[in-house]
Amino acid sequence: MTVTSITKDPRSLSMTLTAELAATPDRVWQLWADPRQLERWWGPPTYPATVTSHDLRVGGKVEYHMTGPEGDQPKGYWIIDEVEPPHRLVFHDGFANEDGTPNEQMPSNEARVSIQEIGDGRTRMLIESIFPTTEALEQMLAMGMEEGLRQAVGQIDAILGEGAVA
């Protein structure tokens, strides 16, 4: 299992994911810094990502769209806040309108990526997601990445079981 931990802190409205990868920090950095590699992991197989612009400098923008099974193409963007190859990347990830401009109605979240060598040719990657409001955090909770929501999921299952309506 490459994901070694997923935790969240409700007070700072943040979630932290730690993963260990069998590669050097330089190699892991390429996953973020090379748009052709980024688009091979960012979107799930059913919603592959296409990166249309990629400027990994402070203030720079990464623009992408995903392509769904029905041909739908939701658009997203990153705004780069900090960049320090191959160890650190901080950006805001948000939804974009049809014309590529940021969709202000949707909350964006801040992502902090930290990449550190841990020896034996292995690298630890830390991804911290920080949400601006409780509502946005609730969305994150809804993403099912932490225990509270796992319980909620279990409860929904229980509800559906009791419902017994097909």
């Binding site: 490459t2 994901v3 069998a22 991804i127 969305q139 909770l141 409860q155």
Partner: protein, 108 residues
């Protein structure tokens, strides 16, 4: 990126334990808001507010049975939420898996 943002209200509604409990009770569609409120150590107004949030999220609706108005759970809505929750849960794990795969392939 979070996919399918239209379900925000639904997830927010389900993030609260009291509201999940109301959703469970309302499956039988036997009780009105006042009766539901009697199960909780909080004011009628507070429970009414919870029901309103669930209603807006499409998780429950009110139906007239004779002279009474009962709260009924929308099971199809719950199923949709459940499927999306699974999807979200897998999103980042899937990304990390794909990263590992890319790294392994390039090294060979």
């Amino acid at each position: 990126m979070q996919v399918m943002p239209n379900y925000d209200g639904m997830f927010g509604a389900l993030a609260d334990a009291t509201r999940r409990d109301i959703v469970r009770r309302a499956i039988d569609a036997q009780e009105g808001v006042a009766q539901i409120a009697s199960h909780y150590p909080m004011s009628f107004a507070a429970v009414q507010k919870h029901v309103a949030i669930l209603e807006r999220a499409g998780l429950v609706s009110k139906h007239r049975i004779g002279r009474r108005k009962v709260v009924r759970t929308n099971l199809e809505g719950l199923r949709v939420a459940r499927r999306l929750l699974d999807q979200y849960e897998e999103l980042w794990r899937g990304r990390i898996d794909r990263m590992s795969e890319l790294i392994t392939n390039r090294q060979e």
